[in-house]
């Protein structure tokens, strides 16, 4: 295995009296899709915000590709790390193309010239996410799936080697879910990007992730390849409901169901 994208040592966070994350020591692999699973309130989003440096842990160290996360200048970090928050903000009249172009900010900064490369990356991000036909529509007039893709396009234009996605498919229909997750997977397989994605659907996670990390009450409750991790006993302890597993009749992937 290559050097990890993220390497966490003793990272913890306290909000008020509550220890949201117990000291975590964890490696997240480079060039792969890592699924972050766990019950509501298990600390997934908090962990992701810490990885994205949106929040600061109370203690512990995090390395991104071998250098401490805290030492990166903000725009330097944004060039290698793109983060999609769970709730899309109000875009206030921006068109899809303008939104995607915002993803180039880490590269041209506040005063730099907008180069041809910036425009080219924006256009190819729109093409990648199949948004060319919507490019001049205002984002707030789009459907939920299209809006989600518009934000993905911004992330693509950002051109970072590491993607952090907080529930990117929670509002999408089945076809769109598969669409987005295949897209995310291609980013890892074909472009060597490291992806960390928070998911709720175990079957989607098992199918599209190389590796799963399961959080429970702020601790790592298990990690490994989907096949090793998705076991009826472990699932029951994680989610508190009895669950079963069978093999997908054509592909053989594990499929979970609630008993």
């Amino acid at each position: 295995m290559t050097a990890p994208a993220f390497s966490l040592r003793g990272v913890d966070l306290r909000i008020g009296d509550r220890l949201v994350l117990h000291p975590l020591t964890l490696d997240l692999p480079a060039g792969q899709v890592t699924g972050l699973l766990g019950h509501n309130g298990s600390g997934k989003s908090t962990l992701m915000k810490i990885l994205a440096r949106q929040m600061k842990p109370d203690s512990g160290e995090i390395d991104l590709f071998g250098t401490p996360l805290a030492t990166h200048a903000p725009r330097r970090l944004a060039r290698s790390l793109a983060y999609l928050p769970q709730h899309a903000p109000d875009t206030d009249g921006l068109t899809v193309r303008e939104l995607a172009a915002l993803g180039r900010y880490p590269w041209h900064g506040p005063f730099g010239r907008v180069s041809d490369l910036d425009r080219q990356k924006t256009e190819s991000a729109l093409a990648m996410t199949n948004l060319m036909t919507f490019a001049d529509r205002q984002v707030d007039t789009l459907s939920g799936g299209e809006r989600q893709r518009a934000f993905l396009a911004m992330l693509m234009a950002q051109d970072a080697e590491c993607l952090l996605l907080d529930e990117p498919i929670s509002a999408l229909d089945v076809a769109q879910q598969i669409d987005v997750m295949s897209f995310v997977r291609r980013q890892a397989m074909e472009h060597g990007r490291s992806v960390v994605v928070i998911l709720h659907d175990l079957n989607i996670a098992a199918r599209f992730c190389d590796r799963l990390v399961v959080l429970s009450h702020g601790r790592v409750a298990g990690q490994g390849a989907p096949d090793d991790l998705i076991h009826p006993d472990r699932l029951e302890t994680l989610y508190g409901v009895p669950m079963g597993i069978f093999a997908h009749p054509t592909t053989g992937w594990p499929v979970t169901y609630v008993l």
């Binding site: 909000i15 600061k56 999609l84 903000p89 206030d92 921006l94 303008e98 900010y105």
Partner: protein, 665 residues
């Protein structure tokens, strides 16, 4: 991109033609009499040439500059705070400048002789420094800036008015300055202003790109933006633009709010477009106003300050265009911060404080020698007839304004909403104005009826104009703001004429309780009591309405109807309270925030707590107004700001909010 963009060109063209036409009509007759030599090097004996070269031409230029600066400043404020009500007045620049000038006039007149600009400018910056001190603790989160700005602005505004009331004669000129006068005697102010504005405008241009990213909230940090830094820098630039303008020509407040909104309604969708169109709109609007005004002055001889009249033209423009704005947008700054949730039992503590304050206000006074005395039982009897009505009136008015404030803030989901903002108070003030000026010797009953009619007229206009778009959005707020600005402009224009009848209004507008009689107090008290049983019924609807109309509709609430009921109730309460404490009280805006900050987060406890707090502040203000400057009186409406603002300030500065904001590196 969209067809809306097309709307921009004809409107702007029309405005340009109008302002150019007016300017030409105003200046051309006199200009044509002068040849270039006389104009470029006028000799002192040549009065026409002197007036043109050193007064009228610089006046045109400084108007264009100031209009543009205010338009740009407002655009920056609205982008940083993500609130269409934000403007230079929001953050206290003007209040600070006004207060500094008033204080300097009274205590250090030499300073003014040295440089009035610098006094105004440092006053404005000091006020903003205080706001930054508060907002900085919250990483310049929009709500913190808005609250801090309003508190500081209200406080300084009230302090200035108090000074003006205590020293009426020394500060008469302040009214003219406060209403913004473009009159010029030479080119120096223009030439001073030009480089200052140029530098700040360039800084604004440099910030354009990071500012767009602010729309993305936390995602902006993901793109490598130092959010707090960008907000602070943009606010500093916006403050500088407004501060330079204020120090040069005084307060032309409404432009900063109206120009960006008008630009947006004209279809300036992108920030970059707005940053060009809004200054243009501002410059044109101010020119149209000022040229019209000059012609009026020439024709009638009446002197009116430009700042006041700007709102008379700008407000109708905003009024008409507000309906073109996009439908309601979610406000992520909808609710004030909660310190720590508390049990409703604590309402009893507030009630106990109210009882204590009310008792004190009844029994404490000062004797002929000025010594503090406490009258009990029989000694109290002769005073009751004087003290009881005003105490009851203040109590009822405070409670009603606070409740109206909670209702409006929750209904519109905007922390800046308040009874004054919707123009209801201004409506009753206008009713009084009409009565005082056009009716021969109106008695008290007639005054009351006129004020109520004025409030009803404003409420009716508001309801009719927002009927199509619904009440929960920004349109309703902006329409109310336009109405309020229009009426207040009329009032301040009248005040600026120095008419003795206007002084009567001034006293009333400051919110004096000393004329409250038993009948008025009874009416207010009965209304306040009648409001109590309605609260639980309305509270449940409000709780849902404040989560947004989509949610409210989905739980089966008839959104339009309950919105209407809430708005009418708030309007009625405001009108009743305004009659007693005047239109400029601070309670309706701040009591809801104090209640939330104390930890009363749900709707009904917040309503109850706000009512108690409003009553406590008002009664305290009445008591202090009656005693501290004995034998003279200070208006309770003013003092309520001087009492309430520090309370909220302290609550804002107490630790405890930070944990609701994500910790950021």
């Amino acid at each position: 991109m969209s067809d809306r963009r097309l709307a921009l060109t004809p409107w702007l063209a029309a405005m340009t033609v109008l302002s150019a036409g007016l300017t030409a009509a105003n200046l051309a007759p006199d200009l044509s009499m002068l040849d270039l030599d006389r104009l470029l090097a006028p000799v002192p004996q040549d009065v026409d040439a002197m007036v043109m070269a050193y007064s009228r031409l610089p006046r045109l230029c400084i108007g264009l500059l100031c209009g543009a600066a205010l338009g740009l400043s407002g655009t920056l404020f609205q982008q940083v705070m993500r609130n269409p009500l934000a403007s230079p007045s929001t953050i206290g620049v003007e209040a600070g400048a006004g207060c500094a000038i008033a204080a300097a006039t009274l205590y250090l007149p030499a300073l003014l002789g040295w440089s009035r600009d610098l006094v105004a400018l440092s006053g404005g910056f000091l006020a903003v420094g205080l706001v930054f001190l508060i907002a900085g603790r919250f990483r310049f989160a929009p709500l913190a800036v808005v609250l801090g700005g309003l508190v500081v602005g209200f406080y300084l505004g009230a302090a200035t008015t108090t000074l003006a009331l205590l020293h009426e004669y020394q500060l008469a000129g302040l009214f003219v300055w406060g209403s913004g006068s473009l009159s010029q005697q030479d080119w120096r102010p223009t030439l001073d202003l030009l480089p200052r504005l140029a530098v700040t405008a360039i800084a604004a241009g440099l910030l354009a790109r990071p500012l767009v990213l602010l729309q993305l909230d936390e995602a902006a940090r993901g793109l490598g933006l130092r959010i707090a830094l960008v907000r602070a820098a943009a606010l500093a630039v916006a403050v500088a633009l407004a501060g330079f303008t204020v120090s040069a020509v005084g307060v032309i407040g409404f432009l900063g709010l109206a120009a960006p909104s008008i630009a947006r309604a004209l279809g300036a969708r992108r920030l970059a477009t707005r940053m060009i169109v809004a200054p243009l709109v501002g410059a044109l609007l101010l020119t149209v106003t000022d040229q019209t005004l000059q012609m009026l002055t020439a024709a009638t001889g009446a002197f009116l300050p430009t700042g006041a009249v700007t709102a008379m033209l700008g407000a109708p423009a905003l009024f008409i265009l507000a309906r073109r704005l996009r439908a309601a947008q979610p406000q992520h700054t909808a609710r004030g911060p909660v310190l720590q949730r508390v049990q409703s039992v604590w309402l009893l503590a507030l009630f106990a404080i109210l009882v204590l304050v009310a008792l004190t206000a009844t029994v404490v006074g000062r004797d002929l020698g000025g010594a503090w005395v406490m009258e009990l039982v029989t000694a109290l009897q002769p005073f009751l007839a004087w003290r009881l009505p005003r105490m009851v009136g203040a109590l009822a008015a405070g409670a009603m304004l606070a409740v109206a404030g909670v209702m409006l803030q929750r209904l519109t989901r905007n922390p800046m909403a308040s009874p004054e903002v919707l123009g209801v108070s201004a409506g009753s003030a206008f009713g009084l104005l009409v009565a005082v000026f056009f009716l021969a010797a109106p008695d008290h009953l007639i005054l009351t009826v006129c004020a109520a009619l004025g409030a009803a007229a404003v409420l009716g206009t508001l309801l009719v104009s927002v009927r199509r778009v619904g009440l929960g959005g920004n349109q309703a707020l902006l329409t109310g703001v336009a109405l309020a600005a229009f009426l207040m402009a009329l009032l301040s224009a009248v005040t600026a004429t120095g008419d003795p009848r206007a002084m009567l209004l001034m006293g009333w507008m400051a919110g004096s309780t000393y004329r409250v009689n038993a009948a008025e107090a009874t009416v207010a008290g009965v209304l306040a009591l009648a409001m109590l049983p309605a609260l639980p019924v309305l509270a449940r609807q409000l709780e849902h309405l404040s989560l947004g109309s989509a949610h409210a509709r989905s739980v089966g609430l008839p959104v339009a109807r309950s919105g209407l009921i809430v708005l009418c109730t708030a309007g009625l309460l405001t009108a009743a309270a305004t009659l007693i404490v005047g239109p400029l009280s601070f309670v309706g805006l701040m009591a809801p925030h104090i209640a939330r900050r104390l930890g009363f987060a749900c709707c009904l406890p917040q309503l109850a707590a706000a009512a108690l707090i409003g009553a406590i502040i008002m009664v305290t203000a009445d008591l202090l107004g009656r005693t501290i400057h004995f034998p003279w009186q200070l208006p309770a409406g003013l003092l309520s700001a001087l009492i309430g603002a520090p309370v909220l300030l302290v609550l804002l500065l107490l630790p405890g909010w930070q944990q609701h904001e994500p910790k950021a590196p």
